[in-house]
Symmetry: C2
Subunit: 613 residues, 2 copies
C-alpha cells in the first residue's frame, strides 16, 4: 500500500510505501537528503518539516528537537515511518542541491556511461591453449565494437592469482577501453561515478550509480580556496609568486573535493574507491587550478589560459581519492572566462539544439551569458564581480541562515530571513529585491542615487523615508532595526550592485545585437546557478538585470552546470556533444568591442524602459 507524499518546494509527488522509513524512501526516490550518519539519528542533518505523513514522535526526536521546532512540524526524516499522505518540506539548503538532480531528471537520459561491467568466462589454459592471462582476457573482452582493451601495470601485476581462484570467470569493470578492476564472478559491487562542479565559492558533487543511472546523492561544500581570495583574480594573483603557491591552491582544492567525496559517499553508504569516473566542470580558472596549470595569463590581456580542451587524467596525478585506476574527465572550456561549467549549462538546457532564440544567464562572480539561435550559440562573460555573492557589500553574506533573501518596500517594508532567525545580512536575491524595490518606491533614482527624505516626493510612506540616513561613509537605508541587530544597504552597496547588474545586462544586450535578436524574439530566458533559483523574476526585470521579458518566459534551471556534468557522466553521447558545443560556439570577447563601454555605462542605470511603462 502506498500513499501520496508531496515534496516541497520541489513540487514533486511521490508514492511512498506505508511503513517505509521516510529518509530511505526520499533518497530512494532521488531526493538527496544530507545524512552523514547514515540514518543513525546522530547527525540531525535530515531535518524536514512535515504535514501529515506521520503523527508519532520518537523519543530521539523529542530529545533532539526544540519545542519550537516540534511546534513547527520539524522532524528527523530518519526517525519517521510513513503512515499517511502528506507533505514534506526540505530545508532551504537541501532545495538548492535537489534542484540539480530534479531539473536533470525532468528529461530521462539514456544510460550509456564510459564505465561498464562485463562478465567473462574464459577457456582455461591448457597445453594446447597457452595464451597468457591478459591476452586471454583481453581477447575475450575485445568485441567488434570495442577497440583493443588496455590495462595498467598495477592490474596486470595482480591478476594471475585471482583468475585461477575464480576458475577464469569473473566481472571486469572497464573505464573506456581500460580494465580498471576485476572481481569474482557474480560480484555486484557498486560501480559509481561522480559529477563535480568546481565553483569559485562552492564545490558540488553528484554521485551516480552507473549500473542504474540513478543519482544516489548530491552534496556541496565550500571551496577551501576561499581562504586565498574570494574571486578568481585574487587567487590568480596569489599564485603569481611561484609554483609552490600554485601547488598549495591545488592541494587545498583536492583536499576539499576528497572531503566532499567522503561525505557524499558516507551519507549514501558507499565507498569512494568504487567511484570509477569523475566528470568535472567548473570555471576555467578553477579547472586550471585543479590541474596545477599556470593561471597568470588568464588574468592578463588577451586573457589566454593554458588548456581549454577536454582531458583525461589519472586520479593519482591529482590525488583525487576515487578508484586508483579510475579516470577523471575534465570537460572542455570555451574561453578563459567561459568555462566547462557554461558548456555544461548549454548541454543541460539543450541550447545547442534550439530552433527558437533562447537566452541563458549563469549568475555568479562571472556572469556567463548564452544566447542560442537556430544558427548557433553565442557566449560572453561579464565581470559581474562578487556583489551577488555578498562580496564588497557592507552586510553582504551568502544565502545561509540569517540572510535577508527577499524584500518588499510597498505597501510596507517586509522581508524574509533564511532559517527563521534574526537578520544578520543580505544575500544576492535580497540585494536584488532591495535595490529594485527601493527604486520602484523612489528611494533610489535611476542613477542609483539614494535620496534623503527631503529629496523624495511626499507620497513616499513615512516608514520608508525614515530609514534613509547619512553616516560617515555616506547614505544608507536601514532594513532591520527595532531591537534587532542592525542591517543596512549603503549607497556604496547600490553602486556595487549597479556594476554587477550593468555588466550582465551589457553582455545580454551585446549578444542580442551580435545575433540580431530582439527582446520579443527571445522565447525563453533561463536563469542558472544555485543563486539564480532564488531571484525574484519580477524584481530582476524591474531592476533591469534582464531586458523587459514577459515574466512567464523566465525560468529557473537550478545548477545547470551540475546537470551537464551529470549528463556527461551518464551518457557518452552527451560527453561528445560537449566537445561539439565548444567547437561550434561563437564566443564574443566583450572588452574587444568598440560598443562595449557605451553599452555598459547605459546599463548601469536602474530600471527597464518597457517595464517602467
Amino acid at each position: 500500500m502506498t500513499v501520496k507524499v508531496k515534496v516541497l518546494p520541489l513540487d514533486k509527488d511521490l508514492k511512498l510505501k506505508i511503513g517505509a522509513n521516510l529518509r530511505a524512501a526520499l533518497i530512494e526516490s532521488g531526493v538527496p537528503l544530507d545524512s552523514p550518519c547514515g540514518g543513525q539519528g546522530t547527525c540531525l542533518k535530515c531535518k524536514v518539516q512535515l504535514s501529515g505523513i506521520s503523527q508519532k514522535l520518537t523519543a530521539l526526536e523529542q530529545e533532539k528537537l526544540s519545542a519550537e521546532e516540534l511546534q513547527d512540524g520539524w522532524r528527523l526524516a530518519c526517525q519517521v515511518t510513513v503512515e499517511e499522505p502528506g507533505e514534506v518540506r526540505l530545508p532551504e539548503m537541501e532545495v538548492s542541491r535537489a534542484k540539480a538532480s530534479f531539473s536533470l531528471l525532468g528529461e530521462e537520459i539514456a544510460l550509456c556511461p564510459n564505465v561498464r561491467r562485463r562478465h567473462f568466462e574464459l577457456g582455461k589454459p591448457t597445453i594446447n591453449d597457452q595464451r597468457a592471462d591478459w591476452n586471454r582476457l583481453a581477447e575475450y573482452l575485445e568485441t567488434s565494437d570495442t577497440g583493443p582493451v588496455s590495462a595498467e601495470l598495477s592490474l596486470l601485476q595482480e591478476i594471475s592469482g585471482p583468475l585461477r581462484e575464480w576458475n577464469f570467470a569473473g566481472e571486469a569493470v572497464l573505464v573506456g577501453n581500460a580494465v580498471a578492476a576485476l572481481e569474482p564472478p557474480g560480484s555486484a559491487k557498486d560501480m559509481l561515478g561522480v559529477a563535480l562542479d568546481i565553483g569559485t565559492t562552492t564545490l558540488a558533487a553528484g554521485l551516480v550509480d552507473l549500473d542504474t543511472g540513478k543519482i544516489v546523492a548530491i552534496d556541496a561544500e565550500l571551496n577551501p580556496q576561499i581562504a586565498f581570495g574570494a574571486d578568481v583574480i585574487s587567487r590568480i594573483m596569489y599564485t603569481q609568486d611561484g609554483s609552490e603557491k600554485r601547488e598549495k591552491l591545488q592541494q587545498e582544492l583536492v583536499r576539499g573535493l576528497n572531503r566532499l567525496l567522503l561525505r557524499i559517499c558516507r551519507s549514501a553508504g558507499k565507498e569512494r574507491e568504487r567511484i570509477f569516473e569523475a566528470t568535472v566542470v567548473g570555471n576555467t580558472t578553477m579547472l586550471h587550478s585543479l590541474l596545477g596549470l599556470d593561471t597568470l595569463h588568464i588574468a592578463l590581456a588577451p586573457y589566454v589560459g593554458v588548456l581549454n580542451r577536454a582531458m583525461y587524467v589519472p586520479p593519482g596525478e591529482l590525488g583525487l581519492q576515487i578508484h586508483p585506476r579510475g579516470r577523471i574527465h575534465i570537460l572542455s572550456s570555451i574561453a578563459s572566462f567561459v568555462g566547462a561549467d557554461t558548456v555544461a549549462v548549454i548541454l543541460a538546457a539543450r541550447l545547442h539544439q534550439t530552433q527558437v532564440p533562447k537566452l541563458a544567464i549563469d549568475i555568479g562572480t562571472n556572469g556567463e551569458v548564452m544566447l542560442a539561435t537556430r544558427d548557433g550559440v553565442f557566449t560572453a562573460s561579464t565581470a559581474a564581480g562578487p556583489a551577488f555573492e555578498g562580496g564588497r557589500i557592507k552586510y553582504g553574506m551568502r544565502a545561509v541562515k540569517g540572510a535577508i533573501s527577499s524584500f518588499q518596500a510597498i505597501p510596507a517594508v517586509d522581508y524574509t530571513v533564511i532559517g527563521r532567525s534574526p537578520a544578520r545580512g543580505i544575500c544576492g536575491s535580497g540585494l536584488i529585491d532591495l535595490v529594485a524595490e527601493l527604486f520602484r518606491a523612489g528611494v533610489l533614482n535611476s542613477k542609483g542615487r539614494m535620496l534623503l527624505p527631503s529629496e523624495v516626493s511626499a507620497s513616499l510612506p513615512a516608514d520608508l523615508a525614515g530609514r534613509v540616513r547619512v553616516q560617515d561613509e555616506g547614505r544608507e537605508f536601514v532594513i532591520a532595526r527595532d531591537g534587532e541587530k542592525e542591517v543596512a544597504l549603503t549607497q556604496q552597496d547600490v553602486r556595487e550592485l549597479q556594476l554587477a547588474k550593468g555588466a550582465i545586462r551589457a553582455g545580454i544586450e551585446l549578444l542580442m545585437k551580435e545575433a540580431g535578436v530582439g527582446v520579443d524574439d527571445v522565447q525563453e530566458v533561463l536563469l542558472a546557478g544555485v543563486f539564480g533559483n532564488y531571484i525574484n523574476r519580477e524584481k530582476a526585470v524591474m531592476l533591469g538585470l534582464v531586458p523587459p521579458f514577459p515574466l512567464e518566459r523566465i525560468h529557473f534551471i537550478g545548477n545547470g552546470a551540475m546537470d551537464g556534468a551529470l549528463r556527461a557522466l551518464i551518457n557518452l553521447e552527451e560527453r561528445r556533444r560537449a566537445d561539439e558545443i565548444v567547437a561550434e560556439v561563437r564566443h564574443i570577447e566583450l572588452s574587444g568591442r568598440p560598443d562595449f563601454e557605451d553599452t555598459f555605462l547605459r546599463c548601469l542605470e536602474l530600471g527597464n524602459e518597457r517595464a517602467a511603462q
Copy 2:
C-alpha cells in the same frame, strides 16, 4: 686523403681520413668501441690490435701498456692517429657487441621512428584569437595524418612561460602523438632512442640518434639478477615467496639497465634524459620481471604467463632513467619460453618474408628454434639448460679471459684460450669443440661414454689416450696440464652437453617434421645469440647439434634480438611487423607432442648420420 682500414674480425673495410683519431673514426663509422672516458686515455677500454695504420706510440701508451702488449701490436685507439692503411682487430668482447650493429647495418632501414621533432611557429594570442596555449599548439601539430596530439600534465604545467619567451615558436619532440618536450626555436638537442635486449645473463643496449637513424653506441652489462639464480627457473622460484621478492628482482634489473644506460650515454657523450623511447626485447620471464608481473605460472604446466602482448609503459612506472615523458615499448612475446627476443630475431632475419625454408636457432639457456617456410614461421623452445653458458659444467665458464674457446684433438691436442692467458675453464664454443672432437677421435662413443685407454682402438694417438683418467666422481679428460692449472672435461659434463644438444636438435627435428621440410630443403641455417657467433660450424654438425646441413648454408647473425629491437626503434613499420609476426607464428609446444620423448632420446646420441658417412 683517406686510407683503407680493415676491421677484424668483422671483415669490414673502412676508408678513414689520414690524420683522424682512430677511436673517433671507428665510432663515427658505426664500430662501437667501449670508451667510457670519452677518449681521455684514462679508462684503457679502447685497446685494439693494429697492423699498419700508425707507427708512432704516444707516451701514454708506453706507460699504460705492457711490453708484451706492445709487442703484440696492442694500442689505445684514442691515442692513435691514422697515417697509413692497415688492419685493426677489436678485442673479443667488442666483437660480440659490434656484430649486432653490423648485421643490422647490412641492410639499410628507413628512418621512420616513433619519436619525431616538429618545428612550430604559432600565431600569437590576441583579443581576436584567444585560444589557450595548448589548444594553439595542438591545433598546429595536428595535421591530417596525425590524430589528436596529447600531453602529460607535467608538460602543460610548464609551457606558458617558455612559449612567451620564445615568441610562440620552437621545437616539439613528439613520442607517438604525445608531446614529450618543447624546446627553443632552432634547438637541435639530441633526440635519442635505445634498444634494450634483456637476457637472463646479459643486458644489451643499442643507442640510436633518432635524427639520423645512426647507431651511436652498443654496450652490454651483466644482468644483476644473476645473483638470484643463473637461469629463469631458479629466479621464478626465488620470487615465489611473495611480491617483495618480485619487486626486489625488478629493482635489480632496472638498476642494471640504468647503469648500462648511464655508461653507454657517457661513452657517447650523450645524456640519458635525451632518450625519448626504449624498445625492449627479452625472454618472456625477463620481460615479466621488468614489469613486476607474476612469473610463477610460466614455470608450471601449462606454462602460461601474464602478458605476451606489446605494451607501452611510462618510464616513471619502472624507474627507468630516460626522459620522464618518454616511453618504453615492450615488444610482444610468442609464448612463455619464446619471448620478444625471438620475435626480434625473426624480424631481423626477415624470416617472416622468406620464400624458401630457413632455419634459425638462438642458442642459450633456452634454445629457441625457428623454422620459416613460405607458409609461415614455426617456433619451438627447447630446454637446453645452462651447459652452453658454462652452467653445471665442472670447469664451465662464460666466454671471458681464460676460457678455452676452441679445441682440436687430431692430429694433436690443441686449443685456444680467450685473452692469451693460461686456461681457467671451458666456455660454450669450447665445450662443443671438445665433445665433437673427442667423439671424432674415438675418446667418446656415440652414446657419449668416455672410453678408457684399454677400451679404445690402438690407432688413437697416445697423447689423447693418456689424458683419460678415472677420478672419484668418474672418468675425465684432462685438457690443460704440464704446469698449467688443470682443466678437464668430465663424463658428467658430456652428459650435460648431450642434454642441451639433444633438446635443441629434437626441437629442430620436430619443427621440420611439423612443417614437412627435409634437411635438403633448408636453404639457410642462421645461428643467433652472442654465443652463436663463436661456434665452429663444422664441429656443430659433427656433434649433431644441427642436422647435416652443408656448411656453406650455415651463417652467424650475431645478436639478432638486438637487431630486431633496433629495427623496431628506428622504424614504426617494423614495430607493427613484430605484432604481425606474433599473430601469425605457429608455436609448437614440444612437451605436448606424443613424439617428443622418442625424438629427444634419439637426439641425445652424438654424431650426425650423414656427416658420419
